[in-house]
Amino acid sequence: MYIYDEIDQTLVDQRVNQFRDQVRRRISGELSEDEFKPLRLMNGVYLQLHAYMLRVAIPYGTLSAEQLRKLAWIARKYDRGYGHFTTRQNFQYNWPKLEDLPDLLAELASVQMHALQTSGNCIRNVTADQYAGVAADEVVDPRIYAELIRQWSTLHPEFSFLPRKFKIAVTGATADRAAVKVHDIGLVAKRDANGELGFEVTVGGGLGRTPMVGPTIRDFLPEKHLLSYLEAVLRVYNQIGRRDNMYKARIKILVHETGVETFTEMVEREWTEIRDTAVELPAGERTRVAGFFNPPVYDKAKDAAGTLRKHVGEDKAFAHWVDTNVAAHKAEGYAIANISLKPIGGVPGDATAEQMDAVAALAERFSFSEIRITHEQNLVLPHVRQDELYAVWQTLKSYDLHTPNLGLVSDMIACPGMDYCALANARSIPLAQEISERFDDLDRQYDIGELKLKISGCINACGHHHVGHIGILGVDRKGEEYYQITLGGSGAEDASLGEIVGPAFPYDKVVDAVETLVDAYLDIRADGERFLDTYRRVGADPFKEALYGTD
């Protein structure tokens, strides 16, 4: 893991002290709310429906056991004993008091964490593949580059007041687990014919009001030019992105309205000016940062697989969990253990302080003290010996963290919705709970297979509904909650945007509608087809007919 140097720590500590003084001045009346609001937002503090909300960055989704334990401790001391993992690998506290926030941020800083750039029109928390460093299909650990981007973009003076917020995601694998194509910039590491490392660069992806899959503007960017190229993209956007209309201010609108070709030419022209100058990534710095992400020293776990097979043979429930939640690790005898934060009837992405402590303890004992956060709101123990998976699972079971549903219909993304969010038009969480309860029979979920269901409570799409195989969007219709259903979206390497299937449903008809869609799929699927495959093969008509009849 990356460890702060003196510069990082000083910067974060200074920011806490500045914010402490800003809060003091707000409470004493030296600052008005209008003056204070942009300052608190720069420190991740929102005012939500019920209270303040603090959004904490978890850079590229990597946490140490010590950090997770601190998140739990803060949840008990300064909040209400729980927190929420978001679709951008952030963590949110729902009830902090303004007067406590400086102390809370100081506690975070003591474990090298912060809430910088988790709000505002700047470069936000850089996200990455949660299997970084352990995936078998990986060219390079993307966190090396995510960390370099974090350092480059933190308090970057030129990019602190962009036309709108800016999100970057990086993967080093062929399977896209980080939804990179629906980010403002997506980076996919690859090697060229000579074996040189570089990136495919997509620009202008995004969800929200105007969803777009980001087009590729450069098929291969040599690794050493990463920062100068990003700087060129940001410069073009910063100069001509629309500041006159908030709804047209994201880079996706600029790329779309300018045209990909023209936009690319502008970036390349800018890049020609600045490449090979001081903005370039120094080779020594790349090596230094890469050193923090060296793999741990794995045991020679040569009998681990045999022991795992024995446990699997003896315990059917464990076998199910291994089937769905455990992924292949690149080191022999090891496995990646996914921890679902989607218990049947639970709140997607929420974890109690006790659960966080339990996962931190498991990480310390079984996973080199490392935890990952996924954009699908789950946790990961990235390096577990196969013969220790059974012990991990038994502990998970006693904290209701053992739901074997990864990638299945009940493993939904849901934004906080109108239960917490000031922007929402409708609730997301209770719908997610009811859908998971409807499909609580795991055998049925296994039969249905991979099905990515994603729910947003408003058009801002924090719940990624556009890229759900089934997407659900909450809308307000004369004070009533209604839900629009989209089909055929994907946030993976085969990214696509869902299409609206027909008229919206009132709250109490949505679960039935989802079940109708799933049943329609089961009726017409071909062997081996996922819901998404069937939809892509047959189109919307059979699903429309199932939902609305043949009129």
Binding site: R26, L47, A51, K77, E99, R427
Partner: protein, 105 residues
């Protein structure tokens, strides 16, 4: 005119509050002073602005309410959730959540 009360968030802890008839801020909507006409609503807003200047609250605004069975209730669902708490966490509702009863350290 629809009946209205003033809602806001308390500056110090951000919690949802309602302006009461005596000028204090109540955590419960049932304590909210009701305006029956525009003049009444303006007077409540004036009091709220003073409270804002005094740094008791932020973002005051009028919400629509109705008296149902003698109880003041918001007419919009969003305001109902603000008045009661997250619908998915009844344990954290305004009525049930008691931090001094051992939830926190």
């Amino acid at each position: 005119m629809t009946q209205k009360v003033i809602s806001a968030n308390r500056l110090a802890d951000g919690l949802v509050v309602y302006l009461a008839a005596d000028g204090s801020w109540s955590k419960f909507i049932t304590g909210g002073a009701i305006a029956d006409d525009d003049a009444g609503a303006d007077a409540l807003l004036e009091t709220a602005r003073t409270a804002e200047e005094d740094r008791l609250i932020v973002d005051p605004y009028l919400i629509d309410v109705a008296e149902i069975d003698g109880e003041v209730r918001p007419t919009k669902y969003r305001e109902f959730i603000r008045a009661t708490g997250p619908s998915v966490r009844p344990d954290l509702s305004k009525q049930n959540y008691a931090p001094d009863a051992g939830v926190q350290e």
